[in-house]
């Protein structure tokens, strides 16, 4: 059996903070690791109250936590994911990470002393590295998810994400008996525009149109590029009167918009189709095809015009 000295020697060489407190929250023991990383002297720490030595500790929370360990005699944990750190300690990567203090995983262990008194041992592990890389990973995943939703050219929702939104809004509208309107519009004679100004000119028109329409919409409206020069907008909680109002404003805004490309001024118009959810629609695709038919009517009626789905006029 190793002697006590060896155990203390090992404890002092561990790359883990070890802190032991009694049931009065006085510090009974700490190891060299903590002495170095907290930059305090043992004489000022051992024998003193933990909350005086480390005023940064959340006192009420920690007391409840430690009470549980004393009472239930079971381990307890605290992860950096919920609390970045408990103790304000220095860490070894101050330059290559942006953590000001050491990120920590803490374990609370119940200890029964030979004299029958109870102690709690707090183990403090440096997880600044883990925290740093996990945070970077989460950020990257978020960016990836974002770019998966966005159309690269126009920076509005791409078709896939837009359709997923519509599917959700459709079932929500069904469940809560809410209104739901759909607007689809297509830029008129876009091919001609591409032929005249080249694809760069056409791209600029798509970008500028998406920008100007975005500025017209409410927060809850969902705007996406449906394909080529066709755009689509989901208007939750909106009836046909409201949808027609938005559609007309879209048509006017596009027709008044002048886009400067190289030395030319490009003007463009749009044909707009509008439909709202009706009893007969069983799937969200029904709503799309009704709106699409209205858009087709707008094209057939000479373009630069708003048309409503036929079955809504007849009803």
């Amino acid at each position: 059996m190793y002697s006590n000295d060896i155990c203390i020697d090992i404890t002092n060489k561990l790359n883990t903070g070890v802190l032991i407190i009694d049931n009065q929250y006085n510090i009974v023991f700490w190891n060299r690791y903590l002495e170095i990383h907290s930059n305090r002297k043992t004489d000022d720490v051992v024998g003193n109250n933990i909350f005086q030595v480390f005023p940064e500790l959340p006192q009420k929370w920690l007391k409840r936590k430690v009470e549980g360990v004393f009472q239930l005699k079971s381990q307890s944990f605290c992860s950096w994911e919920q609390r970045h750190h408990l103790f304000e300690l220095q860490h070894t990567r101050p330059i290559s990470t942006n953590s000001h203090f050491m990120a920590q995983n803490c374990t609370f262990l119940p200890l029964e002393r030979k004299d029958g008194s109870d102690n709690v041992c707090i183990l403090i592990e440096d997880v600044t590295d883990v925290c740093h890389y996990q945070t970077m990973l989460n950020k990257t995943l978020e960016e990836l998810a974002q770019s998966n939703r966005i159309d690269g050219l126009t920076q509005i929702f791409n078709r896939k994400h837009w359709e997923e939104c519509l599917e959700k809004e459709f079932s929500r509208a069904r469940r809560y008996q809410h209104g739901l309107a759909l607007i689809m519009f297509d830029l008129d004679h876009f091919k001609l525009l591409n032929d005249t100004y080249g694809h760069l000119g056409g791209d600029l028109v798509l970008i500028e149109t998406a920008k100007i329409i975005s500025s017209l919409l409410r927060l809850g409206d969902l705007f996406g590029r449906y394909g080529g020069e066709e755009f689509a907008i989901i208007l939750p909680n909106t009836d046909i009167v409201g949808a027609l109002d938005v559609a007309e404003r879209i048509r006017v805004a596009i027709s008044k918009n002048v886009i400067n490309f190289q030395k030319s001024e490009i003007k463009v118009t749009a044909s707009v189709g509008v439909a709202v959810i009706s009893e007969e629609d069983t799937r969200y695709e029904d709503l799309i095809s009704n709106t699409d038919l209205a858009l087709y009517d707008a094209k057939a009626s000479g373009r630069n015009i708003v048309c409503v789905a036929k079955h809504l006029i007849e009803a």
Binding site: K60, G68, E81, Q82
Partner: protein, 202 residues
């Protein structure tokens, strides 16, 4: 799939150990949470990995799942999953004795899970002259898919799980959660030998 294949005596013995553990754990919990804790006799069933993943995947309503590994002497080890329903996570801070603004809902759920798991398994271990250590509890993302993903990616090979369904009924804070203990095949055999030893001693 391997089977626990417990004979009647072994089955009774295991049920009894778990009942006693539950009783003592609930007593400790009641003192700690300072409220009356009532729990039913836990149901123990053996489930296959496949059926369990299916059950968890079809259960749309679980709000959170917390995982915590445990390991003791004589090769007894496994992973505990605590599965919560959304409505049960509203007033946990109150129950745990924290101020609601002191900690996030995630932390409350993790904290409670750790308390439930360790309290139960500590008493369970004591019954069989063992002692448990635990890994830090982790919140598996709240959504269902994440839970089945996690199970599908399990690093240790278990094809059998012991499902201990515990319904905690706490006066004033009605909530319940399922505790599921995953025990890998090797550990199941170890539990069997421990049970046999206990039976011999009687």
């Amino acid at each position: 799939m391997s089977e626990l294949n417990l004979n009647e005596d072994q089955q009774d013995c295991l049920q009894e150990i778990i009942n006693v553990a539950m009783g003592q754990a609930s007593d400790q919990l009641a003192r700690f949470l300072d409220t009356f804790v009532y729990l039913k006799v836990p149901s123990i069933e053996q489930v296959s990995t496949l059926s369990l993943i299916e059950t968890l995947s079809s259960n749309e309503n679980s709000a959170a799942v917390v995982s915590q590994g445990f390991f003791g002497y004589e090769g007894i080890r496994g992973e505990a999953l605590l599965v919560y329903k959304p409505k049960d996570s509203d007033r946990l801070a109150d129950l745990l004795g924290y101020e609601p603004d002191e900690l996030s809902v995630e932390e409350q759920i993790i904290d409670l899970s750790s308390i439930l798991t360790t309290t139960f398994l500590n008493v369970f271990a004591k019954q069989i002259d063992n002692q448990m250590s635990y890994s830090a509890p982790r919140l598996l993302a709240g959504s269902q898919s994440a839970v089945s993903d996690h199970l599908a990616q399990q690093s240790f090979n278990w094809d059998l799980a012991l499902k201990v369904k515990i319904t905690y009924q706490v006066t004033d804070y009605s909530f319940n959660c399922d505790m599921i203990l995953f025990i890998p095949e090797s550990a199941i055999n170890n539990i069997k030998s421990v049970i046999d030893r206990i039976l011999e001693e009687f």
